[in-house]
Amino acid sequence: MRLVSVTLANVRRFTDPVQILGVGPGLNVLSAANEQGKSTLFDALHAVFFLPHRAKGKEIKALRPHSGGNPEVTVEIDLPEGRHRITKRWMGRETATVHRDGQLVAQADAAEDFIARLMTADSDAGPAGLLWVRQGLTRLEDDAGTATEREKARANRRGLMTSVAGEVDELTGGRRMDRALHRCREDLAQYLTASGRPLKGGPLALAEAAVEDLTARKAELDSTARTLADGIARRLDLRRTLAELTEPEAAAARKARLDEARARHEAAERHAGALEQADARLRAADLAQRNATDRLAALNRARTEADAAARAAAQARAAASAARIAREEAEAALAPLATGLAEARKARQEAEALHHRATAAALVKANAHRRAELQSRLDTARALLADRTALARAAATGPDAKALAEMEKLAQALDIQRGLRDRSAPHLHFRHDGPARVQQNGQPLAADAILAVTEPATFDLPGLGQLTVTPGSSTSGAGLDKAASDLAAALSRLGQPDLDTARAAATARATAQAALSDLDSRLKLLAPDGLARLEADLAALPAAAADPADLPDPATAAAALKSATDRLTQAEAAAEAARTRLDHLREADTRAAVLADAAATAEAKARAALAVDSPEAEAALLADLATARQSRDAALAERDSLAAAAPDRAAVAAALARATSVATGAEDDIRKAELELARLDSEIALRSGEGVLEDLADTAARLQAAEARLAATRTEVEVLKELAAALEAARNEARDRYLEPVMAELRPLLRALWPDAELHFDGESLLPTRLVRGGTEEDLDVLSGGTQEQVALLVRLAFARLLAKRGRPAPVILDDALIFTDDDRIEKMFDALTALAADQQILVLTCRQRAFRDLGGTRLALSPP
């Protein structure tokens, strides 16, 4: 469809007809100031295509001029089948007509159907309404407007955005889908929470709870019923058992068995008593026999012991005799040993005295040598001491080395001062031309004499008189005087007349000091501790004695002493050994004598004990033993006979215990069974009255029904879940399928403004939600108004391109759709519009006359017909 012209009559301010002619196939611009009727034109066009001619709503009323009248709009459009003119009039004499090439082709409702077919989607094409962008954003610029006005502007802007989604929904049939999906989710929400769990209080949760409760109840009743059934069975058993126990024949049999067991038990006990007595008799006979045997054995033992004592006494006596002889022999051997010992002691004393004297004689010889040596050293030392006094005096006379050094230093200073004076003194050079000579102090001077005058001097000049020269004073003169004075003072202090004498005196002192030192060294060698000590050592030596000639030397005397000492030691050891042995023999002698006495006593005792022994006594003992043996054999035979005939006491006792237990156990069993029967009776009576099995059957049936309900509910949930999933999947795919070609168209348009830009659509609302630029995602809500309107417009243009490519071109009508876009960006938007206009009719209505001047395209104007 392509617009060709529009004519308005009685539409708002246009009470007189106005028209727009020559709407071109591409870009068309109607640029006019505000209040010039652009929005009126937009609304009128919208009314032609979307408001039935019989409509009376506020939208139509809004088209009516204040002065009244019937709004009428005529549009010419080109369709593939030819040019058509559509005319609609509202609010009185309403008409709708469609003419093609001047021929009426439809009117009234048929005309509306014709228009609806133009606008209504078929398959995946879209309604032309998608591409209508109503003016409504201008007031957003006015920040100073009222809050209500700002909110209205914001709402308009939101409307611009949401209209995109709305139209997409229509294209995909999404509103029915939304309602179906909403209904499905609503139904599902009765059963499940958002996280997929059963909703508390919902049918699923209730069904699950019912099954759970009834299962628990049934289990409880099952248990109770089992208990009841067990109780009934138990009661039957008990009754049967009780009947058996209380049956009279059974009771009598139990009593007979008990009586018989008791009788057998008593007989067995009696037999056991007789057997115990026979045992006692046997034990007494055993004892008598052992006594007789013991007495006979004692007699034999006493005899043996007496013989042994006699043998022991004889042996003891022999031992005592041998010990005495040995002692006496030892005492006799001790005397010669004592004699030898005395001799050895004497020889040693003599050797010791000789050794002493020999040692003393050797000492006398040594003292004589020492005395001679000390005397010699004493004499030499005394001679040296006599020389030392003079030498010491010479060593202390004259300047010492230090004083000499100081003096030499002063002499050197004086020489220096003299040298200085001589260099500064006037020098007189006498050259004699003739033979006459200048004289000084009467002495003629040499031919070319040069004299330094250091003090007034008078020269005789022969033939001329005298010449006196007086040198001027100078510092060097004072220094010379001081040096001379210092030297003189030093010499005076040393008592030396001049320097050379002083030097000679110093040399003499040094020579004397060297000689003194040498003498002192020799004295030290002769008398290290002084002369007095040397004299004392000499005086301490004993006086000289005569040298005994018959004494051996000390070594020989010492050897003789050692030999005598060894012999004495041997003699003492021999004597000690003999004494020790004698002591032992004496002790053995004594012990042997004691043992002999003891043995004699024991023998006497044994003999005394056997005093009563006699053949009669022995015969009596043998007779007693024979009697005792006979008694024991008889007792044993009696006991064995009783034991062989004894009944099994344990078996008899066990039989009695069992018979007793059977009797008492039966009584216990009867009592217990009666008690339990009573308990079971009351319990069963109670439970039976409660109708447990009825309850159980009822609960089982309820549970079955509840399980069926739960299964049905779960099936319902599964059905709803599958339906919701199917709807969501289909819708997402439809959206993707739909958006994909839109995105293909949108992408180049977007990138004309922002390189590499992408637009993201929300899967649920199908609204563009985020713009990605330079890798950064931004929500559309936070973008500037300009960017938002650019995005919205580009989306519409993309839809327009899509429609055009699918053979359903539809005009894009923009009523001040770029309000916030700045001049730089608007150029790019113009580029996009111009590019689109190559195969798409675009009608731009704008109040921004200057900004849109550069858009180009066909300029349109409202003009009277």
């Binding site: 398959s123 995946d124 995909t172 049939g173 999404g174 029915r176 889908m177 309602r179 179906a180 209904r183 499905c184 009841l228 059934a229 009934i232 069975a233 009661r235 039957l236 009776d681 069963i684 009576a685 439970r687 039976s688 009255g689 409660e690 109708g691 447990v692 099995l693 009825e694 159980l696 059957a697 009822d698 609960t699 089982a700 049936a701 309820r702 549970l703 079955q704 029904a705 069926a708 099936t715 599964e718 059905v719 709803l720 599958e722 339906l723 199917a726 709807l727 999947a729 289909a730 819708r731 795919e733 439809a734 959206r735």
Partner: protein, 378 residues
């Protein structure tokens, strides 16, 4: 002797509570069960019978609650000239001795509790051979003793027993406790009154199951019955008449649908015409075959409209396959996401590789979508 008339009934199951049914219906069913006793009394009076033979399972459990058995005894005692002859069945066997001892303590004179297997003369010239069940599963043929039981010559011999006469176990090994079908002949019985099976069955001309007098499950004989028996003379064949005693009708019906049929009309034809009688009907309608989405929806709507007439009307659509037609899918949407979702659900429902349960869920999801959009359109 003159002819002997009596009612033969069994399986009253007094005390049954019907827990699986809705609350309001349960009370009515329990009450109807209790009302059986006066109904039987009146039927006996109408028939001219002085005896009612109860062949076991008078009570639903071995421990009925006190009101159940007390009120039952009171109801039986209301007509003192009418004698009730009762044996324990498997549901109320002698193992529940406390029940039977209490019944014995409280039973009126016209109520006779037959707890021992020995001949009882119940009327001049009429001997009853009862076979009480000592426990729920006795494991032996309790009627065996009848063959050896001697009765005075010329007496009518009536057997009274409870149990199966055929073995339904898969391997046929459960022969213990099975009553031989020819027991009436071998025991020289004029009539063998049996209980246990809830349907009325004539085993042979002298052997009958009367069926339960008040149904508790669907059965071809929708209403409960008892038998009115006339024994003309010893050795003569009995004359047996069926009396309908039940109040509630338990029925199960099936409805086979094919696409293109008017499901609602078919249903209307199948429902009982007597609308007031529907109040006492429990009808389970099992729908088979195939139906389109719209037909299925129409059927569900028709059932929902009719259901309030009935004590219970259950529609079982598990075996009804959905036939999805292009027009159905067009009604959902001719194209777009809804159409896509619908087609996928149909494919999933028709996919033979999927489990039956999963396919049914997919089919139900498609039905639901259809329903949503139909309601949306409305």
């Amino acid at each position: 002797m003159t002819e002997f008339r009596f009612l033969h009934t069994a399986d009253l199951h007094l005390g049954r509570r019907f827990g699986a049914l809705p609350e309001d219906l349960r009370g009515r069913l329990v009450e109807a069960r209790h009302a059986l006793l006066p109904n039987l009394s009146q039927a006996a009076a109408r028939f001219g019978a002085g005896h009612i033979l109860l062949a076991g399972d008078t009570f639903d459990s071995e421990t009925p609650s006190d009101p159940v058995w007390r009120q039952a005894l009171v109801a039986m005692g209301a007509a003192p000239d009418l004698h009730w002859w009762i044996i324990p069945g498997n549901h109320d066997s002698l193992a529940a001795e406390s029940l039977w001892s209490r019944l014995a303590q409280h039973a009126p004179a016209n109520v006779h509790l037959l707890t021992e297997a020995r001949p009882v003369q119940i009327a001049p010239g009429v001997t009853l051979l009862p076979c009480p069940l000592p426990r729920r599963y006795p494991g032996r043929d309790l009627t065996a003793w009848m063959a050896e039981a001697e009765t005075p010559p010329g007496q009518v011999r009536i057997g009274l027993a409870h149990g199966a006469i055929r073995d339904f176990s898969s391997d046929g090994s459960g022969a213990d406790g099975i009553i031989p079908p020819d027991r009436a002949a071998t025991a020289r019985l004029d009539y063998l009154a049996l209980g246990d099976w809830h349907g009325r069955i004539e085993v042979n001309p002298r052997t009958f199951y009367p069926g339960t007098p008040e149904r508790d499950a669907a059965h071809p004989d929708a209403r409960g019955t008892c038998l009115a028996v006339t024994l003309p003379a010893p050795g003569a064949l009995p004359v047996v008449e069926t009396l309908f005693t039940g109040r509630f009708q338990w029925t199960e019906d099936s409805l086979a649908l094919l696409p293109g049929q008017d499901a609602a009309a078919l249903l209307a034809d199948r429902l009982p015409a007597d609308r007031p009688a529907r109040r006492d009907q429990l009808l389970r309608l099992r729908v088979t075959g195939r139906a389109t989405l719209s037909e299925r929806a129409a059927l569900a709507e028709a059932v929902a409209a009719a259901a309030p007439d009935f004590a219970a009307l259950d529609l079982d659509l598990a075996a009804l396959d959905t036939e999805v037609e292009a027009a159905d899918l067009d009604e959902i949407d001719r194209a777009g996401a809804l159409r896509l979702a619908a087609e996928r659900l149909r494919a999933a429902a028709d996919d033979p590789a999927r489990a039956e349960g999963a396919r049914r869920i997919s089919a139900a999801a498609l039905n639901r979508l259809f329903g949503y959009l139909r309601e949306d359109r409305a």
